[in-house]
């Protein structure tokens, strides 16, 4: 158990260091970060000044150590556009993204898990057909297009929901539904297939042959084992959602992290983009670590290894 936790922790730290390297080189893709960050019409003199001001004229290793040191103490750099440190800017946008992600993950789980469970335990039944349909639909429908269609139908034609923004409590419904759809599809498929598989496992046969009632077999044996795989997928998906959804937030003008990222990219505010990328990865890695710990607590096979 201890070894398992330590190795998960070491891995998480390694991944984070790697992410920092990646974000560091992101703006150096073309070689010269000053040229990338400034508008194309900037004069050579402006580029030179900017390069010096940002410290891009120092040796690469010195720049990286400097960058690394600042991130370690929580300084993710300064936005070029807002002329403010990136962290407070991110924190300002965070509530909107957290709200969107939470509603979306709840929607996905509430629909997908029961559908997959019932469908998987009764293959071929009407509910199973629905569950497979949802699984397919979630994978095949382009979210950004569905967003447009929903805006036409529910906002423009029926006037049930606001087209965009975050002014009323109902505003979250459309973006959350669109955001949750791929996750919902994946979860239905996963729940269904793991239940199908588990129902054929040896311990279910044992439970049946010793005469346990189906209800007990279903809830105590099958569900418990399926839950382990599900929780990890839900955790990972939630992590990705918390990083902000670039496209959906911009379609619905949702004032979250994803929209800020896209705005920052379009005006070449790359220090802010770096900060958002680090933050998103941090959330994903953190949630992965939490699921790993959760695994160990729930699953004795890992605990005793």
């Amino acid at each position: 158990m201890q070894r398992y936790l330590i190795s998960s922790l070491v891995q998480a730290v390694l991944v984070l260091v790697g992410v920092l390297v990646l974000t560091f080189f992101m703006v150096r893709l073309t070689g010269d970060p000053a040229r990338v960050m400034l508008a194309r019409e900037a004069s050579p003199k402006q580029v030179e000044e900017f390069r010096h001001k940002m410290g891009f004229d120092r040796p690469l290793l010195v720049q990286f150590i400097d960058y690394f040191g600042h991130v370690l103490v929580g300084d993710f750099g300064k936005s070029l556009n807002y002329r403010l440190p990136a962290v407070p800017l991110i924190l300002e946008r965070l509530p909107a993204t957290v709200q969107l992600a939470s509603v979306a993950i709840v929607m996905a789980v509430v629909v997908a898990v029961p559908l997959g469970l019932i469908g998987g335990s009764r293959p071929g039944s009407p509910i199973d057909i629905i569950s497979r349909g949802v699984g397919l639909f979630g994978q095949a429908v382009p979210a950004f297009w569905l967003a447009l269609i929903m805006i036409i139908v529910f906002a423009v034609r029926l006037h049930w929901l606001p087209t965009s923004g975050r002014d009323t409590p109902q505003s979250v419904l459309m973006p959350a539904f669109v955001l949750c759809l791929p996750t919902m599809g994946r979860l239905v498929r996963l729940t269904r297939s793991s239940i199908l598989e588990i129902m054929g496992d040896d311990y279910i046969r044992t439970a049946r042959s010793k005469g346990l009632p189906p209800r007990v077999i279903y809830f105590r044996h099958a569900l418990k084992n399926a839950a382990i795989g599900l929780v990890s997928v839900i955790g990972v998906q939630f992590g990705y959602m918390l990083g902000g959804s670039v496209i959906i937030e911009s379609v619905f003008a949702w004032p979250g992290l994803g929209r800020m990222a896209i705005e920052a990219i379009s005006i070449r505010d790359f220090p802010l983009v770096q900060a958002i990328a680090i933050f998103s990865s941090l959330v994903v890695v953190g949630l992965n670590l939490l699921t790993d710990i959760g695994y160990a607590l729930v699953d004795p096979r890992i605990r005793y290894e």
Partner: protein, 314 residues
């Protein structure tokens, strides 16, 4: 009982399995056959959809009623033919510049398929080579490769793609390269996992016992067994790349705006959502049908080519 797990697999493998497990009752057997047909039907449907898209892409110049770039402002924003103000000269209507939507969608399939196909070739090729090395070499090499893969998987994917696209600029080659390279980790993971599994199998062990060299084991025993799973993943990833290309186009970061692509069309139609909703609707339908076809095809391939993958992919 085990029928529930094994039954819905068509093809030769499925039938063999079925013969072994389906002797119970007539009802069960009928049920099984019905489901088998349903599954095959879905696979067939997926294949048909996919082939239709391929045909549309190949024969776009022949079957398009108009030049996709021809502008004619006097007929701009004509609604689809079956509506009141529609006109059969433009079956799906026209966009804001009076360009024929059907022709643009037919031509757009070229961009989507090119991106999907070459993107998957790059990602699959990189993934296969790196995954083989990681799985076969093991030890420190494997550890290093897998931590790089984990880093890329923890990184916000779309943000990375959008960022690189914004820095490098709009071109078809850039889109293919970006999606191809950034999608490689998925293939690395699958290839590595399969190599690890195959290495432990009886036939590889016996090959080692009779003195086969590593190259022979790699090319004669491991590689052929990798093709099935890789093909399946490639189908799903190709559909994902068509999505991403459209997403980039939607953000104005895919191929140049003059090129008719489904993403670019969505982006253009978005501005006329309230007045002329069909401009954004039809490209989306095209994306959805393509992706539906590829997903059905992928499901079917998975069942036919390698029944074990269902377990491995989780």
């Amino acid at each position: 009982m085990s029928e529930q797990v094994l039954a819905p697999r068509p093809g030769r493998v499925g039938q063999l399995v079925a013969r072994e497990t389906q002797a119970d009752s007539l009802g069960g057997r009928l049920n099984y056959i019905a489901r088998l047909l349903a599954r095959d039907w879905a696979g067939l449907f997926g294949l048909t959809l996919f082939l239709l898209v391929v045909l549309a892409a190949v024969f776009a110049p022949q079957i398009s009623p108009h030049d996709p770039l021809d502008q004619n402002l006097s007929v701009s924003k004509t609604p689809p033919a079956w509506t009141d103000k529609g006109d059969w000269t433009y079956p799906l209507g026209t966009d804001n510049l009076g360009r024929d939507l059907l022709s643009r969608i037919l031509y757009g399939s070229r961009v989507s398929l090119t991106v999907g196909f070459f993107g998957v070739i790059i990602a699959g090729g990189l993934g296969l080579v790196i995954g083989l090395i990681a799985g076969y070499a093991g030890g420190r090499t494997d550890a290093v490769i897998m931590s790089v893969v984990n880093i890329l998987l923890a990184f916000p994917y779309l943000l990375l793609v959008v960022f690189i696209a914004a820095v490098l600029g709009r071109s078809l080659l850039n889109v293919i390269l970006i999606l191809g390279v950034t999608d490689a980790p998925i293939f690395v993971r699958i290839a590595r996992g399969e190599v690890l599994r195959i290495r432990q199998s009886g036939y590889v062990e016996s090959a080692i016992c009779v003195g086969a060299r590593p190259a022979r084991i790699l090319f004669d025993h491991i590689l052929p067994n990798l093709i099935g799973p890789m093909m399946t993943v490639a189908t799903f990833e190709m559909s994902a790349m068509i999505f991403y290309e459209a997403g980039l186009g939607f953000l104005g970061l895919s191929v140049p705006p003059s090129v008719p692509s489904w993403g670019n069309m969505l982006e253009a139609g978005r501005k006329y959502l309230t007045t002329s909703p069909w401009i954004a609707t039809f490209p989306g339908v095209a994306i959805m049908l393509t992706s539906l076809g590829m997903n059905l095809l992928g499901d079917w391939l998975r069942d036919v080519l390698d029944p074990r993958l269902r377990r491995a992919r989780k």
